[in-house]
């Protein structure tokens, strides 16, 4: 890997995000148009159909594939491609956009992440199975597999997870486009019905519909769009074995996060993540996923998340605020959109436009997705020039 290949060469000059939620009255088209046109306006694109030279899409459950985006935006006569990479789908679509610009092939590209899971008639992902080995267990069932061993080894428990849910519920109340806007207490979280031990209802992200978009251009062209552009410093994707089949797995971490973090920290030259990163959006499909991410991303030592949760390190006013917009927990989780939504939040934070949830003076921001069994992780670092 050439660690300097893309560093600070690509600028984000416009971003958009539709309101996430159970958007019963909206088609994917509606959400894609809302997100993309907000991004066009944000970037000051006068003629997007002329200026955008390629489109990179990410969706986990698209009904029409690339045409879903091309038709919605009438983006024809240019490349439109789509990636699928579990919950890292949005981050991966963004990554291809970055490469397309960094290579010099295109000046300006559009990235669109979206998903419409709420048209499937189930609360949460479908549990239908056709094999005998792939248990009819659910994502909550998969992501909870680190709980017993982690709790046993480091003495953490459901209360620590509950505090993460309380934090993200609070942050979500401050984000206009979030799905849920309701404060909860630790007791609420502990008393909620169990989904898959140790996860109660409030330990689980709100699955939702949504779309988010970004306009990327070369750094030298960025000034032509806006002064407060944001640079892509590092981006990485890593795959690890299914933790339920991996003979080496210790159930104290999620390996793909550690792997992807190593890639981006090498690219960005980061050695002390807690000091050098000022705000982070991490994948909190379940509260334990966020807890493990603190450690796997090197924000704190393995086993110490509990203390940092207690001391407020990752709260809005803490040393390294995490999930400032409420995270997947309350902002919502339309799989393909989530990675792009996180970059949207980091972009707003770096520009100082995050309103009531604004973190003080951040210049470097990280976003993180992990998905599948989980096997796939994407991490992206954006920064002010």
């Amino acid at each position: 890997m050439n660690k300097d290949a893309i560093r600070d060469k690509v600028a984000v000059v416009g971003m958009g995000c539709c309101k996430f939620g159970e958007n019963w009255d909206k088609d994917p088209q509606d959400m894609i148009v809302e997100a993309a046109y907000e991004a066009y306006a944000d970037a000051g694109l006068e003629d997007p159909h002329r200026q955008i030279e390629a489109v990179f899409c990410g969706a986990q459950y698209p009904s029409k594939g690339t045409a879903e985006v091309a038709d919605a935006l009438k983006m024809y006569d240019r490349p439109v491609s789509m990636v699928v990479n579990y919950c890292a789908t949005g981050t991966d679509a963004f990554r291809y956009g970055v490469f397309a610009v960094a290579s010099g092939m295109y000046d300006t590209v559009l990235v669109v992440g979206f998903d419409k899971p709420k048209d499937r008639g189930v609360s949460g992902p479908s549990v239908a199975v056709t094999g005998v080995r792939g248990l009819p267990a659910t994502p909550a069932g998969w992501f909870s597999h680190c709980a017993a061993r982690y709790f046993d080894t480091y003495g953490a428990g459901r209360e620590d997870l509950a505090r993460i849910a309380v934090k993200n519920h609070h942050n979500g109340t401050l984000a206009p486009k979030s799905m849920l806007k309701r404060e909860i207490t630790v007791e609420d979280a502990l008393k909620a019905r169990l989904i898959s031990w140790p996860f109660g209802l409030y330990d689980c992200a709100a699955q939702s519909d949504g779309a988010a978009a970004a306009i990327l251009t070369r750094r030298d062209l960025a000034k032509g769009f806006r002064d407060d552009f944001v640079l892509v410093r590092a981006i990485g994707i890593a795959l690890a074995p299914d933790p339920k089949e991996d003979p080496d797995f210790d159930f104290l971490r999620w390996k793909p996060t550690e792997m992807a973090a190593r890639q981006v920290y090498e690219q960005a030259g980061i050695t002390n993540p807690r000091k050098e990163i000022h705000v982070a959006q991490v994948h909190d499909c379940f509260t334990l996923t966020e807890l493990l991410a603190y450690e796997d991303l090197g924000f704190c030592e393995k086993g110490s998340a509990k203390e940092h949760i207690a001391s407020g390190t990752f709260e809005l006013g803490g040393e390294l605020p995490v999930n400032t917009d409420g995270g997947l927990k309350t902002f919502g989780h339309p799989t393909g959109a989530t990675g792009v939504r996180m970059i949207y939040e980091n972009y707003k934070q770096l520009q100082g436009k995050a309103e009531k949830r604004q973190v003080k003076g951040p210049t470097v921001a990280l976003s993180h997705n992990i998905g599948g069994a989980p096997q796939a992780c994407g991490v992206c670092i954006v920064a002010l020039p």
Binding site: T130, R133, R193
Partner: protein, 477 residues
């Protein structure tokens, strides 16, 4: 002389108190019946009994499998081949299903004996399992229980030799079940007992005694089919046996009438208590009757550890109510219907048979890592296609992780999903026959063949894990 080399038994973990059928509670020591869990059927129970029977025996020495039942899940497609594959037997094994009669178990035993005597096979495994259903809340339903037994039959080294056999065939409509009907029906019981059961068993037993020139007192034990406790004891007496001393417990009120498996289960229990020199008369009923005489031989004392009937009777978990029974038998529609869905891909099943039915893992020849499921490239050293197959189904594993999933559509939530380490391989397995309270990290578990779902309308089998227990239900080993 040909006979039974080894035996095994299986009684499911769950018991339904008969009082619960009428909505009442179980009284301590009150009558109950054994009931298959929602993931069990005649075939999975037969496999469990066969595993018990084959403990300490080289599975590659088995030349044939005869599977007897009146409750085959498939109407067309052999059960014995699935049993043979689950047991990881040789490919050139003889397989056959014997069904449709309460006498199927003794019929299979006779066929196996004939095969080894004729020399067409050296060792034949006879497995008998039954999960019969009668109309909900009928008297017959309370009478039925679920169980299985297995016998390894061979020409040499028999722990019990078969001295003689006598059978009669008789045509009457006494107990029956027709295509498409899930429930067994019976004609009025006095007619069935007098003109079916008593008449036929008497004829078979007297015929056998005449062949051998023996009288009832010459036998140590009588293993006798019984439609109910009263008729059972009455017929033993009528035949000239001492019910108190000679009659084998037919397990009414504990297991119930286990159909084709009833006599085989009692025979396994009789062998469990037998010593060399004992003689056992076995009499089964159904569309006529079978009688056979066994002599217990010296190898009986050399048979290794097995669970047999006693262990399974002591290991029990109580079903809390009748609703659960009805739900488990799919007599009540639920939101998560386990029959729903497209079903498994037959081609995928075909490719995965060794891994999913025989539960083979692969061991890397280069680095020794055992891995599951099937890989082309080693997880650890990346060697390509350098694997040997290893059987995991008879190994003890340990829980690396677990969760209790309330959303997985289990008929008995929460579904206990585990990652289990078996000889270094990681298996994603459901846990069954367990109380969530006993689940903990590093818990030793054994592997059991179960029905995962009925998607597509077929029973779809795979392995699950269950806590290793001793007879008292304690976790050991």
């Amino acid at each position: 002389m040909a006979g039974i080399i080894s035996y095994g038994a299986y009684v499911p973990y769950l018991r339904l108190p008969l009082a619960a059928i009428a909505g009442g509670k179980r009284t301590e020591g009150g009558p109950e019946k054994s009931v298959a869990n929602y993931d069990e059927d005649a075939l999975t129970m037969a496999v469990a009994a066969a595993v018990d029977c084959l403990r300490g025996h080289d599975r590659s020495s088995v030349d044939g499998v005869i599977f007897a039942s009146t409750s085959f899940a498939f109407k067309e497609k052999q059960g014995a081949t699935i049993v043979a594959k689950a047991l990881d037997l040789r490919r050139d094994v003889l397989t056959s299903d014997v069904g449709d009669s309460l006498r199927a178990g003794t019929g299979a035993l006779r066929a196996a004996l004939d095969a080894v005597r004729a020399g067409s096979a050296r060792r034949v495994l006879v497995v008998v399992g039954d999960v019969r259903m009668a109309s909900p809340r009928s008297g017959l339903e309370a009478n039925l229980g679920d169980a299985a037994a297995a016998f390894l039959v061979g020409a040499e080294d028999a722990a019990a030799t078969v001295e003689a056999f006598h059978g009669v065939s008789d045509e009457m409509i006494d107990v029956w079940r027709t295509e498409g009907d899930p429930f067994v029906h019976a004609w009025e019981d006095r007619f069935v007992v007098d003109h079916g059961y008593r008449t036929n068993v008497r004829e078979a037993v007297r015929g056998l005694l005449a062949k051998l020139d023996r009288k009832p007192a010459d036998f140590t034990r009588l293993v006798l089919y019984g439609p109910d406790a009263r008729s059972h004891a009455a017929l033993a007496k009528e035949l000239g046996f001492d019910a108190a001393k000679q009659l084998q417990d037919a397990l009414f009120g504990r297991v119930g009438n286990a159909g084709a498996a009833s006599v085989p289960l009692q025979l396994a229990a009789a062998l469990e208590m037998a010593k060399a020199g004992d003689t056992i008369l076995v009499a089964a009923y159904g569309d006529g009757a079978d009688a056979l005489a066994l002599r217990v031989e010296a190898p009986i004392s050399g048979l290794g550890d097995r669970r047999g009937v006693r262990w399974h009777l002591e290991r029990r978990g109580e079903m809390p109510n009748y609703d659960m029974f009805i739900r488990f038998r799919q007599l009540l529609s639920t939101e998560n219907d386990r029959r729903a869905g497209a079903g498994i891909s037959a081609t995928k099943h075909f490719r995965d048979r060794d891994y999913e039915i025989s539960l083979h893992a692969q061991k890397c020849r280069k680095c020794g890592q055992v891995q599951y499921p099937h890989q082309r490239v080693c997880f650890k050293c990346f060697a390509r296609d350098e694997f040997d197959h290893v059987r995991l189904s008879d190994r003890v594993g340990t829980l690396k992780s677990f969760t209790f999933d309330n959303f997985a559509g289990s008929p008995n939530p929460p579904l206990v999903a585990t990652v289990t380490d078996v000889d270094g391989a990681r298996l994603y397995l459901q846990m069954t026959d367990a109380n969530p309270k006993e689940v903990r990290l590093d818990l030793p578990v054994e592997l059991v063949f179960r029905k995962i779902h009925d998607a597509g309308g077929t029973p779809n089998y795979f392995w699950k894990c269950t806590p290793v227990r001793d007879a008292q239900g304690e976790r050991t080993r």
